[in-house]
């Protein structure tokens, strides 16, 4: 694993630690708009080293609190998306024929739809909440995984050892479970890591547009609030920059780790 990958992994470890420890780091009442007493729009300084927001809450604590939501949504959405993608990819690659045709047409349908628009539509129609966001992202981002996994499945199934397994009487479950899946898993893992990065960006986009769970703090939701409550006319860069930087750093970390893993699993020719 290369140096960049290690750096990414380190950043992710820190982010995960922050997400887990956030409930301990952030005092219970510090982010409750009805309980805070500080003045709104205080620039960074003593006491609040990242300033305060429109309601007088500490931006630093808000960003810490948002880590958990952003990572959770990113991870679950990626798992959902890669899960669907793998299932569809393996099944269509393995069975072929009519079933594959049908599955592929569905994949194509989702592939050509602009996924952001579809996600916006879904999160508008479904009730607001984390689950909806996860679903909206997961349901719109799986087609590329499906295509990739299908291609891998086809190359695996063309190899002699799979043919031999079939000849010896191995059924569908045996071939998929013992031969195909183990060979696509590395690819799927790499894909999942990269999918987390794009899922976090997607979550931030939806939350920024005001489609997220309005009562939960995530980085995108912070940007939404900053924009809504006038951080721009207030020139309150300290409310806009930290959540934005947090998104960039974590997304970059996931991408670095993903690329590093890709280099590991892809055999050099």
């Amino acid at each position: 694993m290369n140096r960049a990958g290690k750096a990414g992994a380190a950043v992710l470890a820190v982010a995960a630690l922050v997400a887990v420890l956030a409930p301990l780091l952030v005092p219970a009442d510090a982010l409750d708009v009805t309980r805070v007493t500080d003045a709104p729009w205080r620039p960074p300084g003593a006491g609040h080293w990242l300033g305060t927001d429109h309601a007088g809450r500490s931006v630093a604590l808000l960003v810490l609190q948002g880590t958990g939501t952003s990572l959770f949504v990113g991870l679950t959405a990626a798992v959902l998306s890669v899960g669907i993608g793998t299932l569809v990819g393996v099944l269509s690659g393995h069975f072929g024929g009519l079933a594959a045709g049908a599955l592929l047409r569905v994949t194509d349908f989702f592939l050509v739809l602009p996924s952001l628009v579809l996600a916006i539509a879904l999160s508008t129609v479904l009730p607001r909440g984390l689950g909806t966001i996860v679903l909206a992202i997961g349901l719109t981002s799986w087609p590329s995984t499906a295509r990739m996994v299908r291609a891998q499945t086809l190359t695996i199934e063309a190899r002699p050892f799979v043919e031999r397994a079939r000849a010896l009487g191995g059924g569908h479950t045996h071939v998929i479970g013992r031969h195909v899946l183990p060979s696509v898993v590395p690819l799927v893992l790499v894909n999942a890591t990269l999918a987390v990065a794009s899922s976090i960006v997607a979550e931030s986009t939806l939350a920024f547009l005001g489609l997220g769970d309005p009562t939960r703090i995530s980085w995108g939701a912070l940007l939404h609030q900053a924009q809504l409550h006038g951080a721009v006319p207030q020139r309150a860069w300290w409310f806009l920059l930290p959540p934005g930087v947090a998104i960039v750093v974590v997304v970059l970390a996931f991408t670095l780790v993903g690329r590093a893993l890709e280099a590991v699993v892809t055999p050099r020719r």
Binding site: H54, G56, P214, T215, Q227, H229, G230, P233, Q234
Partner: protein
């Protein structure tokens, strides 16, 4: 030599492009930011504040309210008198007023409008309360309108009903389906609607033949913005000239900005929290899916008691509001009501908890009694922030809140179909309290098909309706004031909605482009959302500004200089290459 010629050419071209902009007589346009969508441009259907504001620019009412003190002044009618029994009112529409297409405005247009509302239920959607008590409306000649009422009605000089041209609306088949978008739309107001691109802009041009005199500028544009933040930015940059309904943070940010003047006015709007009291249609059919617990007035009172109104004004309105009480804002001091010390419902979560226990809603194992939906508008700063406050306040009394922030139209749908438990709402009030009081009578609930009503609170109370009927026929102002205050006390006591705050109207305009706006009332009044359109109509453009063309001139000069440098560099590079080629 050739190089020099190129440079000269470049300079000439750039200046030539800039020159006409500086000299041509461009129309003077007042550009106003608009954030709320338009529900309809049909004056019989339009309910949204944005739509009624534009309808007011297009159509005059029978009477108007003066800019100084909101006294009743001439509208389409110049004179009026009531019979001794106050049942027959005679209005005189003077000769000489014209529709924007040149047709004369006559008493027949007025009679046509009111009769349309009397005969067609759809035409009563927006302003039905004004004609509910009408017996008949006739026009014996071109100049005279005679209105007979079933009972004496005090609001006869405050009929906020846009009068439409008969010769246009006679051909309209179904009022309910008519969009009123045949441009230019024939009207009687100071401006004529010429173009409407939904979600982008609404253009009106000055009505040169307006009977009060043409406005002092040429065009009035309403430009849509996705959010008020963008609108405020556009104002700061000088792209638009007038913004209202700013958030406190935005208002503060414009402090001391050159060329911008701010206007903090006592508004005539209030923000309320609707509590679905078990919505029913006019015929008594249950409608919507409000939580059954809210039908109990004790529960509604407990919810109201658990809301810290002072904290909301202080933290959410940032002090740019006054604490809510009755339905009429304090700007109309005559009708405004505040609870007496005995009637007051002070903020007291403990008492609210006790009341909910007594009402038979014990806390469950997780400390929750029941859960309610709170519907608000996504993208409205107040709703998003106040929702967080309410969520906390309600959890203090064991009610879990499911906050749902939705689009404008979805919110409207939820309130008209009564598919809410708690919802944010708000109304603009008129000089005469009749409209806002009438909104909460049983008759304002929707018909059997779920359409036709204006209320969103679904209040229906015998005492309230009786008081409403009494005040409507009470011509003694002192006694009427007393009745109006009793009604507000009844509303406060029954809590179909909690009036949260009377918002200050926060407005700002480009004083370098428009020098003066008329406010209503004259002191501490508003420019937009008036009882009338004086703000738009009497806006005075600043002296033809040298500032803007000079700005362009600066750009042109800079552009010319840059072009010159670029040409010089390219020419130099070409020469270098040429000589290099020769050298080889």
């Amino acid at each position: 030599m050739r190089v020099k010629l190129c440079v000269l050419l470049a300079v000439a071209t750039t200046l030539g492009l800039a020159a006409p902009a500086a000299t041509a007589q461009a129309p003077v346009i007042l550009k106003v930011a608009i954030v709320q969508q338009i529900d309809s441009l049909n004056p019989f259907l339009a309910v949204f504040q944005s739509s009624t504001e534009i309808n007011k620019l297009m159509y005059d009412y029978l009477t108007a309210y003066s800019a100084d003190d909101q006294a009743v002044v001439e509208g389409l009618a110049r004179r009026w008198e009531a019979s001794p029994d106050k049942l027959t009112w005679t209005f005189t529409v003077p000769d000489g007023k014209k529709w924007s297409d040149g047709e004369p405005i006559t008493a027949h247009d007025v009679a046509f409008t009111y009769n349309l509302m009397l005969t067609d239920e759809a035409a009563r959607t927006a302003n039905g309360s004004f004609v509910a008590n009408f017996e008949s409306v006739t026009a014996p000649d071109d100049r005279t309108v005679v209105i007979r009422t079933k009972a004496p009605q005090v609001t006869m000089l405050a009929l906020d009903v846009p009068i439409v041209p008969r010769h246009v609306w006679e051909q309209v088949g179904s009022v309910k389906d008519y969009a009123n978008d045949r441009m230019p739309v024939v009207g009687s107001g100071p401006f004529v609607l010429t173009e409407h691109v939904p979600g982008q802009f609404i253009k009106l041009r000055a009505n040169e033949g307006y009977w009060r005199g043409a406005p002092k500028y040429d065009e009035l544009h309403f430009v849509y913005f996705q959010n008020s933040d963008a609108a405020v930015q556009a104002l700061a940059k000088g792209e638009i000239d007038l913004v209202n309904r700013m958030a406190p943070a935005q208002f503060d940010s414009l402090e001391g900005k050159a060329g911008v003047t701010r206007n903090q006015a006592q508004g005539r709007r209030f923000t309320e929290l609707l509590i679905n009291p078990g919505a029913r249609t006019r015929t008594g059919e249950p409608i919507g899916d409000g939580h059954p617990a809210l039908r109990d007035v004790r529960v509604r009172r407990a919810i109201a008691q658990a809301i810290d109104l002072d904290a909301l004004v202080d933290r959410v309105n940032h002090g740019y509001a006054e604490k809510g009480a009755g339905l009429v804002p304090p700007v109309f001091a005559k009708w405004h009501w505040r609870p007496e010390p005995g009637q007051e419902r002070p903020f007291d979560p403990d008492a609210a908890n006790a009341a909910l226990d007594a009402a038979g809603h014990p806390r469950g194992a997780d400390g929750t009694r029941f859960s309610l939906r709170l519907t608000g508008r996504a993208g409205r700063a107040y709703d998003e922030q106040a929702a967080e406050h309410l969520k906390r306040s309600m959890s203090d009394i064991g009610i879990a809140l499911d906050v749902r922030l939705v689009s404008d139209n979805q919110l409207n749908e939820a309130t008209t179909a009564a598919t809410y438990d708690l919802a944010f709402s708000g109304w603009a009030t008129s000089v005469d309290p009749d409209f806002i009081l009438g909104l909460h009578t049983c008759a304002q609930r929707p018909g059997a098909d779920g359409k036709g009503g204006t209320t969103d609170a679904y209040f229906c109370d015998e005492t309230y309706d009786r008081l409403y009927a009494q005040q409507l026929s009470e011509f003694d102002e002192g006694r009427r004031r007393d009745l109006v205050r009793q009604m507000q006390a009844r509303f406060y006591d029954q809590v179909p909605a909690v009036v949260l705050a009377y918002d200050n109207a926060l407005e700002a305009y480009r004083s370098d482009h428009f020098a003066r706006f008329t406010t209503q009332p004259a002191h501490g009044g508003v420019i937009m959302a008036q009882n009338g359109v004086w703000g738009y109509y009497q806006a005075e453009p600043a002296e033809v500004t040298a500032a803007r063309p000079r700005g362009w001139g600066g750009f042109a000069a800079a552009g010319a200089a840059m072009a010159a440098v670029l040409v010089a560099i390219v020419a130099y590079a070409l020469r270098r290459r040429a000589t290099a080629g020769e050298r080889e």
